[in-house]
């Protein structure tokens, strides 16, 4: 009888066999084996189960869940091997594999798991949420014997997937059908997770009016949270600068000793770490349970959001764990230099940048605000803007009030005054529309809008009356007369919005006719008159608002949700300011894009009650409300192409048709079932719910009706999206769904009466959109006799042409662009296709610009440069081509482009046009580029580095790269540092680099200081062996480490890492140098001597003058070498003997010695 356990797939496995032994085994809460060490002979391999979600997102479709060697999986997570290599079962090293061969059905590997067989004893431990759920925590222990193998019914090995598969309790251990179950309270007393469990859940659950099933589910969730907390503690500490004890003491002093100084001295990252550990109970336990018994951080009473909140918290922990577990602190912060504040900022930025917004939830809101304050203290480049945005997006709806409040109450220095954090973020986070960059401010505003929408600041929310903000604007919105008109492509408006302390001042343009100095003339004077100063979060409505007239489509959120009731635009004042600021700079099309973004932003809220108002957002909403009627167009369904004639292939949804369509959908009985399914699946509790594709358990006809209604619902949705500006895509989707509707058969109700029109019109829609005819239609539109047709010689060309240009608006200008200069644009288009310049393939203006297109083709045609240029964002690439498209010759490698991207638009912008500098990067690795750019940007050293690079770009490869590439070389050559770089040589950076290189030299020198050491004996023997016993450094030699020696009679010098001199005296007490040995330490046998060392070796017979300051022998303090006095020269022109002493490249052990002359 063997002990067996269950694998992740329920198969019983033996832990001990002749070929392997399992040790350090851990199990899932459901009893299956999770991770273990496998001992095979003298080898120990560590495995864990990795499910799909453990793999990188992009690999989840092609991965195989199973047991993988942890080291292999970490390597995979860190990019060292591909998923294919990981999962292929490739043999690595001596018979090991990444993937454990757990395929039981083909168990032919000599160390695959062996299955348990009849009579073997299975032991399983499963988490057991036990009433009254106040203890942390119970397990159920199952123990039973395998009865039969394999399962005769399926002729496969027996599997135990759940307790239902376990045999009933019976017999005793000696009987063949033995099975028993025990419930055990695990001893976790006096641990932080136990405290957390009870504090946040166990002490409160008894009073909750929820079902036992829910209580069990919540218990399990909370236990999972506690387990994850216990695993995350050490990962949290990786992000701290100070130790746990130091952080604890600072909190202790502040809280209990009335001494806030140590806490104030902590860096923000340490405060955040402390706050997290405090909330998890680690301070409480550390204090011996006498202090820090702080309040719970999870809800202690039940509400509808409870499950969502604890799920979110658990997911935050999981994300945090995954993102930090695979990295050591040294890997996370390899160049952890600078001031404490810089190190803290680095940690916080790292923390925020690696974590998804949801995981940032573990950082308390006030600290997130602190981080934002830290970020806005400096100019934000895109990366920092994204970090700020990540934090802002991490704020969940329940925290919206607190977060919005802090953005107003917290202030930061701005020039010589204080501004709110809200304003500082607004100023720092930039759309950079006129240059390149992300629409980050837009993202900021949309997120803030969403938070505002669900917050108490929104007067539509019922609890606003109790909020103190309601006093500010008396719970009512302000009405503004905001008008806007198009003027030469730009929108001019009549209002201006200016930040003023915690408020925004709304100013209205006032035009006055005023007398001038000549009485008979008058003039116009425009002034801005304040119409009021309002809180930034003040809700406003717009008076006489005409949505087609403003730059940005403003979402119409009804104050009264009833159809045909009063509707007004309602939005927070800060968003109007943003619309106004942005509208001044933008054309109509971008403006429409913003309106769509607003819609999509709110879609993310889910189907919460408030979202119902959003149906007023679009024209379709207006049609429903009756705001537009009759033949007014709601939406024009376009064909897959624009026609010159303008009408063919389009289909118009008029207001009356839309109303009829909606009436059928909303009021008829046909879609009532569908509505019920939607309500059941997508509601406030499950806003992200999915609507099933099929109606289960229904008649065929009911299923068909259900599908029809879903298609109609989709059409309505896309009409709404389309009316917000996404018309081409919406048109495609509507046509697709209309086709589905036709294929299902139109609803019987459409055969007669008022709905007959719907059938007729949808038939027209389907007939008018002949996808197969699209190509011929378009080809027919190519102006006859143009050069285009002649260039589309193959079917592939024609199909490609249709695919690429079918969606492009093809007016006369389009054809003119394509046909000019004998159709160069078409030729370029073909080349772009061949070179896969996909994101510019329809850029007709570029294709027609032959000179510019040639630059693209040149870069993409160069195999060295192609992937680098292709990886650039379109705008950035265009800017690169503008600056460097003309280069002859082209850059020698992708490093040129990569370096440019790191410099352009940045603090290093002055180098983005400096071709000699950029060429230095041609063939550099990304890491090397990053390292050099880091130095160029460095707060302390950067200015000097930049200045030298400007003077001498070659220094990048001649000075910086060798240092960064070969620390051992840099250390050996440190005393020959180029004079212009001496301040670099003195820097902490040099210390870091040298530190990597000096290990071996120190090992040798320190060992040679002591004649009784192992190192001395080792070196002595190696030299004896290399010289056939003629040179014995243990006999009469003096020892001088790290001596500068001048070569021959020149001023050139080198550093002898270890110098041995054997002195004798003649009868007149004159020194006779009997022998000289010079050792140079090198990390590897293949490491060459430096140029100076080589020169010294070649001229050794001339001897060396001492350059170092007075030095004494380490073996005799009276034997001293003096500069410009002592010359180390052997009698008779003999040469000192050079040796290279090398190790295994890790600086820890002498590997060998080579005699060089």
């Amino acid at each position: 009888m063997e002990d067996v356990v269950l694998a992740y797939n329920g198969l019983p496995l033996r832990l001990y066999t002749d070929t392997y032994t399992v040790a350090n085994d851990y199990y899932y809460n459901t009893g299956e084996l999770w991770k273990f060490d496998l001992q095979i002979g003298s080898a120990t391999l560590s495995f864990s189960y990795y499910g799909k979600t453990d793999f990188k997102d992009k690999d989840q479709g092609k991965c195989t869940p199973g047991y993988y060697q942890n080291s292999s999986f970490y390597k995979y997570k860190n990019g060292g091997i591909t998923v294919e290599e990981l999962t292929s079962g490739t043999v690595i090293g001596t018979g090991q594999k990444h993937l454990f061969p757990i395929n039981i059905f083909e168990n032919n590997d000599n160390w695959g798991f062996k299955l348990g067989t009849e009579g073997d004893l299975i032991k399983i431990k499963r988490l057991f949420p036990k009433t009254p759920y106040n203890e942390y925590y119970y397990n159920k222990y199952y123990e039973f014997k395998i009865k039969n193998d394999p399962d005769p019914n399926i002729n496969q090995p027996l599997r135990y997937r759940s307790p239902e598969d376990y045999p009933p309790v019976k017999g005793n251990i000696s009987s063949s059908d033995y099975s028993k179950v025990d419930v055990v309270l695990e001893d976790r007393s006096d641990t932080a997770p136990e405290w957390f469990y009870k504090k946040n859940f166990g002490d409160h659950i008894a009073g909750w009016g929820v079902s036992e099933q829910q209580k069990q589910a919540f218990t399990q969730h909370n236990i999972f949270i506690c387990w994850k907390i216990s695993h995350c503690k050490e990962n949290v500490e990786k992000l701290a600068i100070e130790s746990f004890q130091t952080i604890y003491d600072a909190f202790d002093d502040k809280t209990y000793n009335n001494n806030p100084a140590p806490y104030d001295a902590l860096q923000l990252c340490d405060r955040i770490v402390g706050e997290i550990l405090l909330n998890w109970g680690y301070f409480y336990i550390h204090s011996g349970k006498t202090k820090f018994n702080v309040d719970p951080i999870l809800p202690t009473s039940y509400s509808e959001e409870y499950e969502a909140i604890i799920n979110q918290y658990y997911n935050s922990l999981v994300n945090f764990y995954i993102n930090t577990y695979y990295r050591t602190a040294a890997q996370i912060f390899p160049n952890d230099t600078g001031t404490l504040k810089e190190r803290s900022d680095r940690r916080i930025k790292y923390l925020i940048s690696i974590l998804p917004s949801s995981a940032i939830g573990i950082i308390p809101i006030p600290h997130r605000v602190e981080i934002l304050k830290m970020l806005v203290n400096n100019a934000l480049y895109n990366k920092d803007e994204l970090i700020a945005l990540t934090i802002i997006k991490s704020v969940t709806f329940p925290d919206a009030d607190e977060f919005l409040g802090l953005l107003l109450s917290e202030s930061v220095k701005w020039n010589n005054s204080n501004v709110t954090l809200f304003e500082a973020l607004y100023r720092r986070i930039d759309d950079r529309i006129m240059f390149f960059g992300e629409d980050n401010r837009k993202a900021y505003m949309l997120t803030m809008y969403m938070l505002w929408f669900v917050s108490s600041y929104n007067p539509m929310n019922s609890d606003t009356d109790t909020d103190e903000l309601s006093d500010t604007y008396e719970g009512k919105p302000v009405t503004l007369k905001y008008e806007s008109e198009l003027f030469f492509g730009f929108y001019m408006d009549n209002m201006n919005f200016v930040f003023k302390s915690n408020n925004i001042e709304a100013q209205e343009e006032k035009i006055e006719v005023v007398p001038t100095y000549k009485e008979y003339q008058s003039g116009i004077r425009k002034t801005w008159v304040s119409v009021g100063v309002y809180n930034i979060y003040q809700a406003i409505t717009l008076n006489e608002y005409k949505d087609e007239d403003v730059a940005i489509k403003i979402p119409l959120i009804g104050l009264n949700a009833a159809p045909n009731g009063e509707t007004q635009a309602l939005l927070p004042l800060f968003f109007l300011k943003y619309i106004d600021d942005r509208g001044d700079k933008e054309d109509l099309w971008t403006g429409i894009g913003l309106a769509l973004d607003v819609a999509l932003t709110f879609t993310g809220i889910g189907n919460i009650t408030k979202l119902r108002h959003l149906r007023y957002l679009s024209k379709i909403g207006q049609a429903w409300r009756g705001a537009i009627t009759g033949s007014q167009r709601v939406f024009l369904v376009r064909s897959a192409y624009y026609s010159v004639q303008g009408v063919a292939g389009t289909f118009e949804f008029t207001a009356s048709l839309t109303q009829l369509f909606r009436q059928y959908y909303m009021n008829g009985t046909d879609c009532a079932t569908y509505h019920g399914v939607v309500d059941n699946n997508v509601n406030d509790a499950t806003p992200e719910g999915q609507i099933p594709d099929e109606l289960p358990s229904a008649s065929e006809e009911a299923k068909k009706a259900y599908k029809r209604c879903k298609a109609i619902d989709n059409i309505l949705f896309w009409m709404q999206m389309g009316s917000l500006g996404m018309d081409i895509y919406a048109s495609r989707m509507i046509r697709k769904k209309a086709k589905e509707l036709a294929d299902l058969g139109y609803p019987p109700a459409w055969d007669t009466g008022q709905y007959l029109e719907l059938k007729v019109r949808f038939q027209q829609l389907n007939n008018g959109v002949d996808v197969l005819g699209d190509y011929e239609n378009m080809i027919n539109l190519i102006p006859s006799g143009s050069v285009i047709s002649g260039k589309l010689t193959t079917d592939i060309d024609k199909i490609n042409f249709f695919n690429d240009f079918g969606m492009v608006q093809r007016d006369n200008a389009f054809w003119a662009q394509l046909t000019k200069n004998s159709g160069e644009a078409v030729d370029n288009w073909k080349q772009f296709r061949n070179l896969n310049i996909t994101d510019e393939i329809t850029n007709v203006a570029l294709l027609a610009d032959n000179a510019k297109a040639a630059k693209y083709i040149a870069y993409y045609g160069d195999n060295n440069l192609k992937s680098a240029i292709a990886s650039l964002d379109k705008t950035l690439r265009d800017e690169f081509i503008r600056q460097h498209g003309h280069l002859t010759p082209l850059p020698g490698g992708p490093g040129f482009i990569k370096a440019w991207t790191k410099m352009t638009g940045d603090a290093l912008g002055e180098f983005a046009n400096n071709v000699p500098v950029l060429r230095q990067f041609d063939n550099m690795t990304d890491d090397m580029i990053d390292s050099i750019v880091y130095e160029m940007k460095h707060a302390d050293r950067g200015a000097g580095v930049r200045s030298r690079i400007k003077q001498s770009p070659g220094d990048i490869n001649n000075v910086m790269k060798p240092w960064l590439q070969d620390p051992a070389f840099a250390y050996a050559a440190r005393d020959n540092t180029n004079a212009r770089w001496l301040d670099w040589r003195k820097s902490i950076f040099a210390k870091h680099i040298f530190g990597l290189g000096r290990g071996f030299e120190n090992l040798c020198t320190d060992g040679l200081l002591d004649k009784n050491s192992g190192v001395f004996d080792d070196v002595r023997q190696r030299i004896l062996n290399a010289t056939q016993g003629t040179k014995d450094i243990g006999n009469g030699y003096d020892f001088f480490p790290s001596i500068q020696l001048k070569i021959g009679n020149t001023e050139n010098y080198f550093v002898a890492d270890q110098l041995f001199v054997k002195y004798g005296v003649d009868q007149f007490d004159k020194d006779i140098i009997e022998d000289i040995i010079i050792l140079e330490t090198k990390l590897q046998t293949t490491t060459n001597l430096s140029a100076r060392q080589l020169e010294a070796l070649q001229n050794a017979s001339q001897g060396f003058n001492v350059r170092s300051l007075s030095s004494a022998s380490k073996y005799d303090d009276n034997i001293r070498l003096n500069p410009n006095s002592d010359k180390l020269v052997l009698p008779g022109g003999a040469s000192p003997t050079f040796f290279k002493l090398f190790d295994k490249a890790d600086g820890t052990e002498i590997q060998g010695v080579t005699k060089l002359n």
Binding site: K986, S1110, A1112
Partner: protein, 218 residues
């Protein structure tokens, strides 16, 4: 690795703390005092490894008797192929201080405790102070050329004398015997010249001959 650097300026600052009265600290990192007839240099021996640290390991005294070195230089400068160099500041005598002052344990302490900041300097300070005191006391105790000559003659072995004199010893000893009117100057100088005339280094033999010729004229 600490996030501070230790460069030569830090080293100089620490040397300043140990500077004896009446001495000046040079930019190169040694103490000097120029008197009428001699130039004194005191070195705190240290392996310098900037920007990491220094490893102190002893002290050394060098005394340049100007009259000796002037004579040496005057003759030396006519022999360009000599295998040793010379300057007017070259030491005439040199002596080290280490285990004889701070013991083997003190030496081992210094070897194993590099100075990278003020804290580590303070730990090494007692030993360095002893070494400095010994150096200064030696200079104070032995002042004249005669004192140094006598000290050298009192040394037990040729190896010790060879270390005490700056090499080449025979040339300097010839000069000193002449300047001090030591009675065996003539015998000594003649023996030296004769001996080195038999050696392969003809340039050195010529130098010693020229030196004797010069000294004989004094």
């Amino acid at each position: 690795m600490s996030d501070t650097v230790y460069n030569k300026e830090n080293f100089i600052q620490h040397l300043e703390v140990l500077k004896p009265n009446g001495y000046t600290l040079s930019n190169e990192g040694y103490y000097y005092k120029d008197e009428v007839n001699r130039k004194i240099r005191i070195f705190l021996d240290a392996d310098q490894d900037f920007p990491f640290d220094v490893r102190f390991y002893g002290a050394g005294v060098q005394v340049c008797f100007t009259e000796v070195e002037q004579i040496f230089h005057q003759v030396w400068q006519n022999f360009s192929s000599l295998k040793f160099e010379h300057s007017l500041n070259a030491p005439t005598f040199k002596k080290g201080f280490r285990e004889n002052v701070i013991g083997t344990s003190g030496y081992q302490f210094l070897l194993q405790n590099r100075v990278a900041d003020t804290a580590s300097f303070n730990e090494a300070f007692p030993y360095l102070n002893q070494l400095m005191n010994a150096s200064v006391n030696f200079i104070t105790q032995y002042t004249t050329l005669q004192d140094f000559y006598n000290y050298g003659e009192g040394l037990a072995t040729g190896r010790e004398r060879a270390s005490f004199y700056n090499q080449p010893l025979p040339a300097r000893k010839m000069i000193i015997k002449k300047l001090l009117n030591i009675s065996d100057y003539s015998t000594y100088s003649t023996d030296v010249v004769n001996h080195y005339n038999q050696q392969p280094d003809v340039e050195e033999a010529a130098f010693l001959q020229a030196l004797k010729n010069y000294l004989d004229t004094l």
